[in-house]
């Protein structure tokens, strides 16, 4: 595994090449995960179903496509700002950053947009259309290029296509598909968990299988994370939700699956697509108890 890590603890950022020209820029806590996630499963409505001694960790990721034009997908959080900028410098060298694409405006996804634009003043912001001037100003996205589902931006050999974010939290969200490599970015949906004690930080999911990660764990992780991320699943029909996952993978030829908060899947995506469908269905069927 070839990974370059900048900094440590709460601010560390790791960089890995996923495939030629596409890089994973990610933060996770590693040895510090136990300080933040020791009760991760205890907050569920059915913690008894997840009794385990797993100390899990969660990535917060951006992705960089380097081509004739370069494009950064999301920005990482201000807590890792300095190391994210160093990582970008390391990856881009003398290459300009041409586009800064924002999935949605939550702090871990867009919180470094201004800092990145200061460092790369030529970088054009891209975000989802549908808001008014005031909305974009409110979120520091003035003058952004506004895109809609199906729009395509050619970077050179790579072309990105805007994807309908079928599972979202923030109302103005978008996903992204890179047509040449089959790279699908799904922001907050479809993420697994990893265990620092098994050296799974910065690993791809196929590598995690070597340290005991299983399909069963993947399904559970997808379900638990969706339960946290999308509590509105409580009010949905599991068949409709599962069918939507199926349609997504029919519509796009996905060869690399890259959520913001999971390990990247670069092999056996068809198998994992079925597991993602199963895990998301399971999230709907989990008990949801709201505290009134």
């Amino acid at each position: 595994m070839s990974v370059k890590v900048f900094g440590d603890g709460l601010s560390r950022v790791g960089v890995r090449e996923i495939t030629s020209g596409i890089f994973w820029i990610t933060h996770c806590l590693g040895d510090h995960a136990k300080e933040h996630y020791s009760d991760f499963f205890g907050l569920l409505s059915n913690p008894e179903d997840y009794v385990s001694n797993r100390i899990v960790d969660i990535p917060f990721s951006a992705f960089l496509i380097v081509d004739e034009k370069s494009l950064l997908i999301d920005t990482g959080s201000p807590a890792q700002r300095a190391n994210t900028l160093t990582a970008l410098d390391y990856l881009l060298g003398s290459h300009a950053l041409d586009y800064l694409w924002i999935s949605h405006i939550e702090i871990p996804h867009a919180g470094n947009a201004a800092a990145i634009q200061r460092k790369y003043p030529g970088a054009e912001l891209i975000t989802v259309s549908g808001g008014d001037d005031y909305y974009y100003a409110l979120h520091g996205l003035e003058d952004a290029m506004l895109v809609s589902v199906g729009d395509i931006i050619v970077l050179g050999k790579h072309s990105i296509e805007m994807v309908d974010p079928i599972f979202l939290d923030h109302g103005k969200s978008q996903w992204l598909y890179e047509q040449t490599t089959g790279f699908l970015f799904t922001a907050d949906w479809g993420h697994n968990l990893h265990e620092p004690s098994h050296n799974q930080c910065f690993q791809f999911v196929d590598e995690m299988e070597n340290s005991g990660y299983t399909d069963e764990l993947f399904v559970d992780d997808v379900a638990v994370n969706a339960w946290y991320q999308f509590p509105w699943l409580a009010w949905t029909d599991p068949d409709e939700i599962a069918a939507a996952v199926g349609r997504l993978f029919k519509q796009y030829d996905v060869r690399i699956f890259a959520p913001s908060h999971g390990n990247v899947i670069r092999k056996d995506v068809d198998r994992y697509a079925a597991l993602l469908e199963e895990g998301t269905r399971k999230a709907v069927e989990m008990p949801h108890r709201f505290a009134y």
Partner: protein
Amino acid sequence: MIRMVADDLYQIGECVDGLHGHEAVRFYVLLNDGRPILIDCGSQLYRSESIKELDQVLDGSTPEYVFLTHSELPHSGNLESIASNWPHIHVMVSSILLPYIEIAPVLPLEQIATVAPGSTLEIAGREVSFLDALLKDQPGSQWIYDPKTGTLFTGDGFGYYHPAAECELFSDEVEGGIREQWFSTYHRDAFRFLRWVSPEKLNDALDNLFLRRDVKIVAPIHGNAIRGDIPEHVDRLKQAVTSLCMQYRKEGLDLR
């Protein structure tokens, strides 16, 4: 704009003209017998006006807490100024939220506490309940109930766009109150997950909440406080949600 909502509860903030009408960006202050509590802290776009108004409402007292409904910028954008003006202030967020990475690093992490949904705590001498937000635009969203004033702070939930002439009016000052259509337009923008939702299930959850809590005021961030006729306004919101869900079904759920 400063307005007293009821008792020791004040509403602060601005509003702007947008595609669908005027949108408010408010936050609230409970004066709390000289130990003020802020609910959210407004957008950085209006920092100067908001901090000036906050100073005026506080009248020299030092705020002890900010309860964030969630950490999105229109709700937390002035946290840096507030932490700079009152460095000992504490922030409370939902335990679903990860402060080290989901809140801008503008005050020491030790001053940010997480609270589990369903907790009732005495904070700055006041009993307050932290609830699950039923309409979330961020997983770590919470609603907050203040039994003393009977106020439910709902973050983005119960937001609405209002006509230009009604920027300063509470619901009981608007003839006919807040319209279903005003709720509907805002919620369509803010909660796009409604495309998947069975409205009966969501509306049952809203009913359960309002049965459980004696709500006299609903205090959204993107709207003025809703005072009085709470059952009628909850019904309008439920109808708005129902219509939106039906509209999505009519338009089709397939990928566009």
